[in-house]
Amino acid sequence: MELKVNQDNCLGCGVCVVACPVNASISPEVAGGHGSKTTEVIMMVENGVIKIFSPEKCTKCGTCQLFCPTDAIWLE
């Protein structure tokens, strides 16, 4: 399975960035709702839409997909 995004659906809310457990362990401040301070994370909101930076770090737990309100991020 692969992590996929659809930037046309994305509202840029950043819920996936904050919910992702891998992101939070790489950049702990995102767990508190803050934006990531590093591009080492799996995904981040850039220019108002979600962008994947490090797909290889994804363990496919499905948390981002469960939280995304607009089906803009998913595993396929």
């Binding site: 399975m1 992702c20 457990p21």
Partner: protein, 354 residues
């Protein structure tokens, strides 16, 4: 010629080798708990565990395991290793789980119907919905004794008793008055199978039309038989769905359920690493893990809580944790003996190396 053929039916599969002896390996995806033991135990690396987190949590249309039929030698080790019997090898149509020559886990779950009081706690608690309790409740009329009568001459058809009766035992046939019959009801009756002789109707009747007496407390003991108060029933455990987690045994108030688990071990969670994503909570087939709720305002609850009494040490949570916060150790594998050194070694390999 020996060849393996694989039939895929939705997410399930059957691999068949037709030679002098027919071997068939079947996989049932809905029983699979995604623990990955088959992947670990397969001697030819034919099995690949899917992305269980995403598959279970998002309902993705993917099988939990993938098998390469060119690599599979139909040895049956995955069948023996699977703690929930999702994989089944049949040799000439006989399942190897029925053959003594193959080792099997020593595990069981039983409910003793003689001890069971049919409270249904286990049915509600079972995380796999494997338990069905069928119960016959006693007849209410046999648990009370008394007398009741409505004086229909005195009755003014007000319907107050009917409205007040807690047992729904009084039935009044309401009607509109007509010039030839200027009454508001044609009849009133008490269903003696429903009446519990609480005497509410008698007290509430504005014209004292009801005569009723309860005998339960006075000499009612002579009228009532204790066996009439017994709830009868039967219990059923679906062996295919049961994972021997122990919920029924722990929740049973009368110790009627007995569970023997195939593994012993230890489950530890590093709460510093844990990001509370809930993947383990969703994946655990035994409801071992949960998110505690704060008990008072402002309290910060623990990130995650576990109760190892229900754990089968399958390791599904450890596999799925995205941040390596979970460690499942298996210290004991209980299985029937096998003469094969290599099978013994493979089963022993499921223990955590210390």
């Amino acid at each position: 010629m020996v060849s393996n053929t694989k039939k895929v039916k939705a997410k399930d599969f059957d691999i068949v080798r037709s030679a002098e002896e027919k071997r068939e390996l079947s996989f049932k995806d809905d029983i699979c708990i995604g623990c990955g033991i088959c992947e670990k135990i397969c001697p030819v690396e034919a099995i690949e565990l899917g992305d269980i987190g995403a598959i279970i949590r998002t309902g993705a249309d993917e099988p939990k395991i993938k098998i390469d039929e060119d690599k599979c030698v139909l040895c049956g080790m995955c069948n023996v290793g699977c703690p929930v019997n999702a994989l089944k090898l049949k040799i000439d149509d006989e399942p190897i789980s029925d053959m003594d020559i193959y080792p099997h886990y020593i595990s069981s779950a039983e409910i003793d119907d003689d001890t069971c009081v049919y409270c249904k706690s286990c049915e509600t608690a079972c995380p796999r919905e494997a338990i069905t309790i069928a119960r016959d409740l006693p007849e209410r009329s046999k648990l009370v004794t008394g007398e009741i009568e409505i004086d229909k001459e005195k009755c003014i058809n007000c319907g107050i008793c009917e409205e007040m009766c807690p047992a729904d035992a009084i039935d009044m046939e309401h009607k509109l008055p007509t010039s030839d019959d200027p009454t508001v009801a044609s009849d009133i009756n008490v269903d003696k199978d429903k009446c519990v002789y609480c005497l509410i109707c008698k007290k509430v009747c504005p014209v004292d039309a009801i005569k009723a007496v309860c005998r339960s407390c006075s000499y009612g003991v002579y009228d009532l038989k204790p066996e009439d108060a017994e709830t009868k029933g039967s219990s059923f455990i679906d062996e295919e769905a049961c994972v021997n987690c122990g919920w029924c045994q722990e929740i049973c108030p009368v110790d009627a359920a007995k569970v023997e688990k195939p593994f012993k071990g230890e489950l530890s969670i590093d709460t510093d690493k844990c990001q509370a994503c809930g993947a383990c909570v969703d994946i655990c087939p035994c409801n071992v893990l949960s998110f505690p709720r704060p008990t008072k305002p402002g309290e910060i609850a623990e990130k995650i809580s576990k109760d190892e009494r229900y754990c089968i040490y399958c390791g599904a949570c450890e596999n799925v944790c995205p941040v390596d916060a979970i460690d499942v150790k298996r210290t004991e594998i209980k299985h029937t003996p096998t003469k094969s050194k290599s099978w013994e070694k493979k089963l022993e390999s499921l223990k955590t190396k210390t």
